[in-house]
Amino acid sequence: MNKLILRLVMAFKGLYRGMGVDAGQLEAILQVKLTMDDRRPRNVFGRNQPQRKKVIRNATLGTVITSLVLGCVYLYFFFLSQDYLTAFTLYFLMFMVMLSITLISDFTDVLIDVKDNYIILPRPVNARTILMARLLHILIHLCRIVVPMMLPGLVYVSVQTGVPGALLFCLDVALATLVCIFAINAVYLVILRVTTVERFKDIIGVVQILFSILVFATYYLGPRLAANLVLAKSSIIGHPWFYPAPPLWLAALWEVLRHPAGQIPLLYMLAAAGAILPPLCIWVVIRFLAPSFDRKLGGLGSGGSGAAPSKGRSVRRGASYRSVSHWVTRGNTESTGFDIAWLLSGRSRDFKLKVYPSFAYVLVYFFYYVFIGKDKVSIADKWNHLNETHMYILLIYFSSFAMISAISNLVYSDKYKASWVYYVSPVKVPGEILVGAVKAMLVKYFIPFYAMVSILAFYIWGIGVLPDLVLGLVNVTWFGLLMGFMRLKKFPFSATPNIQAGSGRFIQGLLIIAVPGLVGFGHYLIRSTLPSISTWLIWLFTVLSVILAWLIYGRYREVSWAELEKASAEF
């Protein structure tokens, strides 16, 4: 596909030459850039799957297909609402949110490729060629996402409303894209103005985390909520808080141009905003934002390493985690493991990207299962009857998946090679470091999260669920330790994320997932079939669980170098 795109772009050779661009160099740069795009793991969508050993060859195709699928998903809104204004507003809302967030994370790779400064700038390439290469690259990149994303919508609209409607739809898409570019530019500039490059990447990381949560939540909850909205039979125009939203302007523009006469005045105004504001935005970008953007980008390479420390991030010394670590760990080695896991998990981008969303997933899953079912019952009704159910057990055991995710991601790091220090230092029992690290996960992430979950549970079901919550906490603790003992015989942040788990590991992993399910089911059986003595049973099981947790803990703490080596050989 790249060859085709390249040939298409290079068809205008004469035009480029007229602009003072060296066509040969332009082609060379673009070819390399497109090839690199193909080999880059897709950071937004490809992240959650474990990386394959296979070299990445057709990442672009993946992006195109993903966009196409997303485009199909948006069609849902046309089936949901017969009112075109509402449907288009929701459609463009999704379209623009997805486009912006996809672009914002892609742009870090595409635009801020600091390597350009080292590789291309020292060569005899003129400024116009570089600029043109960059612009064309962005354009190609944009098309690869926008075109497949709009395709399903375009087909639908042209079938339903004919060619004029389809053309208007294309216009809307173009305007929407402009607004997105403006938004991204503005965001980038603001971020770059207030912060350094390294932190900038952190912020993009946060955006990606929010993005994955959003995608997940939309996928599970979106249709249900949207259906609820439409159940109320209201058109979008009845919701004034939607008026400042660009998607509504674009929808209004489509509606007004399709049926110019006889609309309410408000709609004309919104349509005008839709027609005028996006071009204005892009003018602002070209006139004001782009020049300072380029200057900032130019500064990125030179100021990247040497001069930055004066602006570097200071970190408060004697931080609070130290005292926590004294409280919950025994001995120096164990607290070392605790500290390093605590510090690095808070700063490793990869870890945060993989683990933080899983905490949100727990809640999304929970609400999904609560609200799923026959459409006739409204969400409000389900919510009101929630306290008569045993759904809190579901909530408790779902939360163990967040803990498992934290522990299983604890070993991976881009900087895995830095773990050489464990091997040259006199650590007698490595199990102590591992236990310390698991404790850090428990204290830093799980317990605060569980406290939140508990508050939610108390709010819905009242104080009566206290024994269940205590049993749940103990259970999750031993799940975590068991998980650690079976799968985490490796130092924290010491393995490359690219390793592929063997099939035996995979089955072990399934077992680990099955354990919380079985235990949770048992817990549910006790509560639902033996209501009279269930509270006593729950306390009894809590005691048993504490003993079990203690046994696993003791064993895990004794993991020796030999076991560690054996485990890494199996890895």
Partner: protein
Amino acid sequence: MTPTVSIQHLFKSYGDKAVLNDISLDVFPGQIIGYIGPNGAGKSTTVKILTGLIPDFEGSVTINGLDLREHPLEIKRMIGYIPENAEIYDVLTPMEYLQFIGRLYDLSADTVRERAEQMLAAFGLKDVLDQRMDTFSKGMKQKVLITSGLLHNPSLIVLDEPLSGLDANAVIVMKEIMSRLAREGKTLFYCSHMMDVVEKVSDRIMLINRGRIIADGTFEELRKNSGDSLEKIFAQLTGETNLEGEADKFVNAFES
């Protein structure tokens, strides 16, 4: 006097490829050993065996009289290792990183803080003690790495290209640090490709090639037998006498 390091008939192979082929050497307190050899000669393998990173080998290695196989932890405690191209958790600050390393050696937090502050100040890093290392230059990271290797006051110090990335002033400081440490009776095992530095710093040079020691002595002793600079001695002993010819071939590529 017991040697700090005593290696007897050390063999190591990966598959059927022999990397170390009967290495024997004794190193005594206060010596700085320049351990040199061409790429792939087995330098790093020796170092990794010494520091306990490669546990399976043939032959015997004793450090301060302790057998490496029987007392790995005690020995690790005595060794300070500054690896080449070392990875470092650069999202941490130097202080956090050094605290982490210090605790792996059972040093108290106060001791680590005092030492780290003093050592890093000597390298001119006092102001960035509490800033994350991801913005640091290569040389700054190297300084932190050197500090992390010396923090626990080891008696045997193994350095693998410790000067890479350091600026000229830091190189002077580092050379001075090495000779002071040797004067205090510590043993330094110095691996490098920079012949001029090795020539000046080391008081005993060992040249290894294809897993064997092919020369061992002071710079003066080596000079008697072969050329006048360490570079030339190196070339002669490793059997590469026609290096100009190789350069010719490279440059002549333009003519064809």
